[in-house]
Amino acid sequence: MSRFQRTLIGLFCAAVALWLVAPTLIIVPISFAEKKSLAFPPDGFSLQWYANLIRNPEWSNSILNSLQIAAIVSVVATVIGTLAAIGIARMKPRGGGVIRAILITPMIVPGVVMAIGIYAVYLDHQLVGSLTGYVAAHSMLAIPFVIIAVGASLSVFDTRLETAAASLGASRITTFFTITLPLIAPGVLSGLLFAFVTSFDEVIVALFINSPSRKTLPVQIFASMTRDSDPTVAAVGTLIFLLTSFIIAAGLWFGTRRRRA
């Protein structure tokens, strides 16, 4: 390939990278707008929309709800998903493959179809707007990410280490906590982060099962966007963007550390 062609493709890729990242960044200046408008570029500078996030209970409550749900979901999904990933790894390839395929189905079922069904069931069992309801639905959605992340760690895990520990007299539980878990910890940790983000960002199911007293942040953002041009959505979007970037950077850092170890 000639130098010219390579430069051409390089420029094309730079444009693609820009198109992937830049549009989202436009919300940052808008979050500092002075007037209540989503026009770009914004006039003036103010922090009122950030203040609004704390002062307005609609926003602050939905943020707290989302954080609470995501925190519980990340623990529940990580525990259940890690157990499942270990089970799959120890099963015979054929059976393990089937179970894995079944557990990953939430990734391919269209969101609205799930949401309608979950809403129907929750209405029948008074679970609409309940913490249990959110946690069950979001954990189900997050488990595939945990299984994939932990599964990747387990695929490079040498099971002879467990045999060695057992032959030296360690019990199954001791072996798990002192040998297996530390070695697959990077996978478990990235699974935990993915589970948190999955729950924190989930909107379709939450749109159906929310109640006025318990709304999640994405639902609040969606409602605000369909209602008016309130730059508070840009302020909260900026914060989510920073938080997510931070979490991914942490995830990548742990990922590369594992390879070096």
């Binding site: 808008i30 949401a115 379709i204």
Partner: protein, 280 residues
């Protein structure tokens, strides 16, 4: 202690909590959707007959496929060179390119769609640039074009990752061998590199197309009544019309389309591997 021994013999026991949760939180709800589509308000195929006899529904149905097809094609055109470049650059540059793909991948879809609303609105940045260049103002928001633009950006990472995963494993010596035997670069690309990258193309295309079919947020916020997709229609039936049967039928149609596509793709991939004589 006996429990632990049985776990050791039957590792499938470890997957029981996950499978149970899946059955309760997904299996049972999906069964309800299917059931209601056939029984609400009365038993029979009424909801499906209604769906396929209304031209409005069929328009939305085809539009859903059309939009997904456009988005898949655009993602492939944008993602293929990008994924190739990721295999050709040094580790530092590659990390930066991966980051550019991953950050939007995990930044909430709602927030990214918000950015597109701001960019595409009638008095938005894109329209102002267009008018400054002396062209007519374009209607972008609440149109199919707007939906396609937004969805392509949200779904592009799902195309790039499988492409990159496959391209990373392609042995470039095969391309060099072809060229050393006199094949021109274009020919060696078409005959060697492209066929070898086909599993990635197929994998990425299937994921993007399937996710596109079920897209809800982006079409709901960027599209208007003239750009409604199947998900929005199903949601309206359930939440606004309280018509569980019709909404359920739409959901089942969406789900069946998705599963059929997956089945076809799985078959196609298997056959390709056989032709290629792959060992996997």
């Amino acid at each position: 202690m006996r429990d632990l021994i049985s776990i050791r013999r039957n590792p499938v026991l470890l997957t029981v909590p996950a499978v149970l949760l899946l059955l309760v939180a997904l299996g049972y709800p999906l069964a309800q959707v299917v059931l209601r589509s056939f029984t609400d308000p009365q038993p029979g195929l009424d909801n499906y007959i209604w769906f396929f006899s209304r031209p409005v529904n069929l328009t939305v149905f085809w539009r859903t496929f059309e939009v997904s097809a456009w988005v898949t094609l655009l993602c492939l055109i944008l993602g293929y060179p990008y994924a190739w470049m990721m295999t050709a650059v040094g580790p530092r540059m590659r990390m930066l390119m991966i980051l550019c793909v991953l950050v939007p991948f995990w930044v909430s879809g709602v927030v990214r769609t918000l950015a597109w609303v701001i960019l595409l609105q009638d008095s938005g940045v894109i329209n102002r640039v267009i008018m400054a260049l002396g062209f007519e103002k374009l209607r972008l928001i609440r149109t199919q074009t707007g939906v396609i633009i937004g969805m392509t950006q949200v779904l592009l990472p799902f195309m790039i990752m499988p492409l990159y995963a496959v391209m990373r494993g392609i042995d470039l010596r095969l391309v060099q061998a072809a060229q050393s035997l006199g094949a021109r670069p274009a020919l060696s690309f078409l005959q060697i590199y492209l066929p070898l990258s086909l599993p990635g193309i197929l994998g990425g295309a299937v994921i993007v197309f399937i996710l596109g079919l079920g897209f809800y947020i982006t079409p709901a916020l960027l599209g208007g009544p003239r750009a409604t997709m199947l998900s929005t229609l199903a949601q309206q039936q359930v939440l606004q019309q309280l018509n569980w049967g019709r909404g359920g039928a739409m959901g089942v149609i969406l789900l069946v389309s998705t599963l059929l596509l997956l089945a076809v793709a799985a078959r196609f991939t298997r056959r390709r591997y056989q032709i290629a004589g792959g060992s996997k």
